[in-house]
Subunit: 133 residues, 2 copies
C-alpha cells in the first residue's frame, strides 16, 4: 500500500506535547502484535509514501524506517486510526518474520508469570549478534 | 488473573517524562487490537491487583478502570512487556464485546482508504447514546 497524495487523513498530532502518537504494528495474517513505537507527522507521511512503516525514534530523535539496518521492513497492508485519532494501528507484512531487535518475532516476547517474574515465551527467529554488527 | 504481591516485574516508568507507558488491550481469543491507552505505576498495580485493566486518563488526570461506566470491563488473561520495558500488551476478555465508547468492538474501527479518507469498517455493538446517559 502506497499513497502519494497530500489530502489523506492523519492522526491528531496535537494531542501530545511532543507531537507524537503511538503506533502499533500487527502481523496482518496472524494478528500477533509485533511492536509499539512512535510517529510524528513526517513519519506518518513517509509511511504512506513508501508503504514501509516509518517511526520517530524518541531516543535518537530521527526518522526511523523499521528494517533499515536488519532488512526486516514492515510492508503496510492496512492502517487504522482509533476513535480519538491519537493512536495508529498498522497491519503489516513483517519481512524476515522478526520485528524485535532481540531476534524475536514480536517485541512483546516476555510474559508476566504468576510469581511476578518475566518469562520469555516468544519465538526467537534470529541471533541479534549475527545481524547487527 | 490477579496478582497481589509487591515483588512483580513492572514497566520502566522512567522512560517518559510523564511517567506513563503505552498499554495495548488485545482480545485474548480473536487477537483483535481493541484499544490503546496509558498506564502509570498506580494503574499498573491496580490492574494486577484487581485483574481488570486500569489506565491513567491523560485528559482527566485520574485512574480509570475500563468499564467503570459502561460495565464493559477488561478481564486480564495475560500480560506481556516489550523489549524496552516501555510498552504493555494485555490479552483481555472484553466484557460486553465492545471496547470503544463509540460502541464499536475496537477503538480502531476506521481504516484509511485508498483515497486517503477514513472509512468505518468495524462492528458496532451498541448505541453509545443508550449506554452513557
Amino acid at each position: 500500500m502506497m499513497m502519494s497524495g497530500k489530502d489523506f487523513a492523519e492522526p491528531d498530532f496535537s494531542k501530545s506535547a511532543d507531537g507524537l502518537v503511538a503506533a502499533i504494528a500487527q502481523d496482518w495474517q496472524t494478528g500477533e502484535v509485533l511492536m509499539l513505537a512512535w510517529m510524528n507527522r513526517q513519519s506518518w507521511r513517509r509511511t504512506l509514501e513508501t508503504g514501509h512503516a516509518t517511526y520517530w525514534s524518541r531516543s535518537r530523535r530521527t526518522l526511523w524506517t523499521k528494517g533499515e539496518s536488519s532488512g526486516n521492513v514492515q510492508k503496510i497492508r492496512e492502517i487504522y486510526l482509533d476513535c480519538d485519532l491519537d493512536a495508529v494501528l498498522m497491519k503489516v507484512e513483517q519481512v524476515g518474520d522478526a520485528a524485535c531487535h532481540q531476534g524475536y518475532r514480536s517485541c512483546f516476547y516476555r510474559r508476566l508469570a504468576e510469581d511476578g517474574s518475566l518469562e520469555a515465551v516468544g519465538e526467537r527467529i534470529f541471533d541479534p549478534g549475527t545481524v547487527y554488527k
